[in-house]
Symmetry: C2
Subunit: 464 residues, 2 copies
């Protein structure tokens, strides 16, 4: 258990009060089969279960009666065969007691608990489920189809409210993840040379993530084609002159995340053309840090970044016209088709499984439907204790450029002739994790992976 028993007791009490009434079910994860039932991927506990019930074992369900306050940890005990294969382990009762949960019960009882609640006309609250085994289990309990589950909006809102604000001790754990991330990214930069494969670099940094924590917080993007948003590493060797985009994060053993991106010149120095684009991205990156603070909408920080980017792309002759009008039309999204950032915590896109609209938006701040801005995962007003990523990027995506040019999309603001010259450029992104403080914000992680042009070139010159 990462935190004190008191912490978990208090979290469940707050959850109960926020939800108000009914029976709350929080499903822990089971092992997830890779290529046959007994060959599972590395076990990953569900973040919300972990947040409220603290335990990493598979096959558990936390039940909270919001009316009576009764709490139960549901799970089956292990037998002698399991001891041979997995060693001696604690009983479900022990696990419950550690987390301050008074009751425990075998899995077979879950059906009874839910049936009784339904019979009594009470609400049964559960979150959206992303694991299909749990979908089947829950659907059977409720007598419905796995794809017809109806998650509780009250429970979603309560969980989002609690998990959004990170405590000081949670921040400490995220700082640990950022330190692993620092090692991963400085190692990637040290290895980044012509002839080394993307896959090799990705493999080594995933090994660092696993050496000090869990597997990476998401599938690393390590690619000479930064313009492909999910450019998974390939066995192709790095080419001199190109840029390597590396977007990768760690998870601590307690599943708190980091998420950083760096874009490194494979030859060790940026070309003039690369410097011009890179410096726009790094200035946008720094701008967010100046603007983000409690009370400010992250949507507006995103828009500030889009305006700066547009101004600077105009200077390079890639965009033209009135900046406000161009941004309002979404012309910049040809270069930045994603949002400035997302919440981060126990999930790298924190709570994304609960529905992005509930996490990143609220009644005041509604999501945009415009291409580009519609990919902004976090728009609402920032609060002290929020952790968000700051990850502007500029990409030259040949298929998108062709499509917009053909359709004349935002042609008023885009110099397509000039843009053509960048079609083999690739993409640049710079990403750090930001804590919203009392009156501003700061980067998380004690050590900063170099990202300003001079610092990057100096680091590459000084390596080995």
């Amino acid at each position: 258990m990462l935190f004190s028993r008191h912490t978990y007791v208090e979290r469940r009490k707050q959850l109960r009060e926020l939800v108000g009434n009914g029976l709350i079910l929080l499903f822990g994860n089971n092992d997830s089969p890779m290529n046959y039932p007994a060959n599972a991927y590395k076990f990953r506990q569900d973040s919300s279960f972990l947040y409220f019930f603290a335990q990493h074992r598979e096959g558990l369900v936390g039940v909270i009666d919001a009316d009576s306050g009764k709490e139960t940890l549901v799970g089956n005990e292990i037998d002698i065969d399991d001891i041979i294969w997995y060693g001696s382990v604690e009983s479900v009762g022990d696990l419950a007691a550690q987390a301050g949960v008074e009751n425990h019960a075998p899995m077979a009882k879950l059906q009874d608990m839910v049936s009784e609640a339904i019979k009594a006309g009470r609400r049964v609250h559960y979150l959206p489920q992303y694991r299909h085994d749990i979908k089947i289990q829950l659907a059977d309990i409720l007598g419905t189809h796995p794809n017809s589950l109806e998650p509780s909006l009250d429970l979603i809102n309560a969980v989002v409210k609690l998990r959004s604000v990170k405590s000081a001790e949670e921040i400490e754990e995220i700082e640990r993840a950022c330190e692993i991330g620092y090692q991963m990214h400085t190692t990637a930069m040290r290895l980044c040379r012509p002839g080394v494969t993307e896959q090799y670099i990705s493999g080594v940094i995933s090994g660092i993530a696993a050496s000090y924590g869990c597997i990476t917080s998401f599938q690393s993007i390590v690619s000479m084609h930064g313009e492909v948003m999910h450019g998974y590493p390939s066995p192709r060797p790095l080419e001199a002159g190109r840029l390597l985009l590396c977007d990768a994060g760690a998870e601590t053993n307690e599943n708190y995340c980091s998420d950083h991106t760096r874009t490194t010149p494979i030859s060790g120095k940026f070309t003039q053309k690369q410097k011009e684009i890179y410096s726009i991205v790094s200035d946008c990156h720094d701008l967010a840090l100046d603007v983000a603070k409690p009370g400010v909408r992250y949507y507006d920080v995103h828009m500030d970044v889009c305006r700066l980017m547009t101004d600077r792309l105009k200077e390079l002759g890639l965009m033209r016209g009135d900046t406000e009008a161009a941004v309002a039309a979404g012309a910049h999204a040809l270069f930045l088709p994603h949002g400035l950032g997302h919440m981060m915590g126990m999930d790298v896109h924190d709570m994304e499984g609960l529905g992005q609209i509930h996490v990143g938006y609220d009644e005041e701040t509604r999501p945009s439907t415009q291409f580009g801005t519609n990919a902004l995962r976090m728009g609402r007003r920032l609060q002290e204790g929020f952790v968000v990523t700051d990850e502007p990027g500029i990409y030259f995506i040949p298929a998108l450029i062709d499509l917009w040019r053909t359709n004349g999309t935002n042609a008023e603001f885009l110099n397509f002739d000039k843009i053509e010259e960048y079609k083999d450029f690739g993409g640049i992104r710079i990403e750090d994790d930001v804590l919203i403080t009392k009156d501003g914000c700061r980067f998380l992680g004690e050590n900063r992976v170099p990202y300003h042009i001079d610092d990057v070139e100096q680091f590459l010159a000084d390596r080995d």
Copy 2:
């Protein structure tokens, strides 16, 4: 694609002939969510789909009409959004053509194809499903419950028959996996010193697996408690005097596996007590290599190993009485509660998801129900081209020793007073991958990770 189009055409033709009639469905895998729907574990294609349809993309189903010979690759095309996120990719028709499949269709057509076959009174063949999303999809198509699927024994038997015998080009790919395994295990041995954590070593070798191939072929076992069969690595530092058991394998980018185990003295040298037990295991390991060949049942190789182990444990005073009687009673299973090995190929326990009884046994060789021998995954007669693991071990499992002593289990053959002295010993296993050749067998992998006592100590003395 790993092999020529002809290879895949030929495999499907043989499959069709073996199954005889009906509609064969081979499901490829989808992305498997880790902690929210869009955050997936590293994609792993289903081995049987890959064996017959060659392609690594998610969301595909291979359909073979065993009567007409018509073959269809089913899957949805990608759109412009996908191009931004995943880059330009080939069409489903292109993928089909590469594998020599004449037809392709969108996923929505799969229901029609199956419904038509059922309406015509034809059999619909599918394999046991281990992914719950596929279970739901297939159950919906068939109008049944995800847990009520009825896999086709004819299809299982046909797939097992084909996949059991590895071609020369498959062996080459397994040798590649073994070379990655060689790097993993020699690195683990180099790192194995007091103070280094199990997790650190496990992380570094998983990084090697990922640098040159996929993730590890299974969750690595890296533990000072070798007596716990699935002893996952922990953040605890290695202790001088103990043994580190490391069981880990690689998968190539084409998902062919390796699986090796070494047990290393953390202090760099074995104690006398460790040497006595270790030499039994290494002699058992070598014995299998002498005995295994086409026509011999692997069950009998396992039993030969059990007899040698019993003889040697008698010399140490840990066992007693008649060797044949002791082995017949299963007394040795206190020390060796698992089998000598399993098939290996595109799955590390090859085809285990199809049912161990169909893979490791047949009408002639039936599985044992006796504790220990019932865990032997491979019993039937060996054939040229089979790949099996040779992995004897000796473990001192306190909970099992206590249980047997209390119950008087096999007390006639076990010197429990002497065994008590080994309760903190841990466990030893040595594992290599064995190819059954025309008239014998050989270890796979060009380089051999040292395992004889003198070689291990020499390697540890010479490192860094």
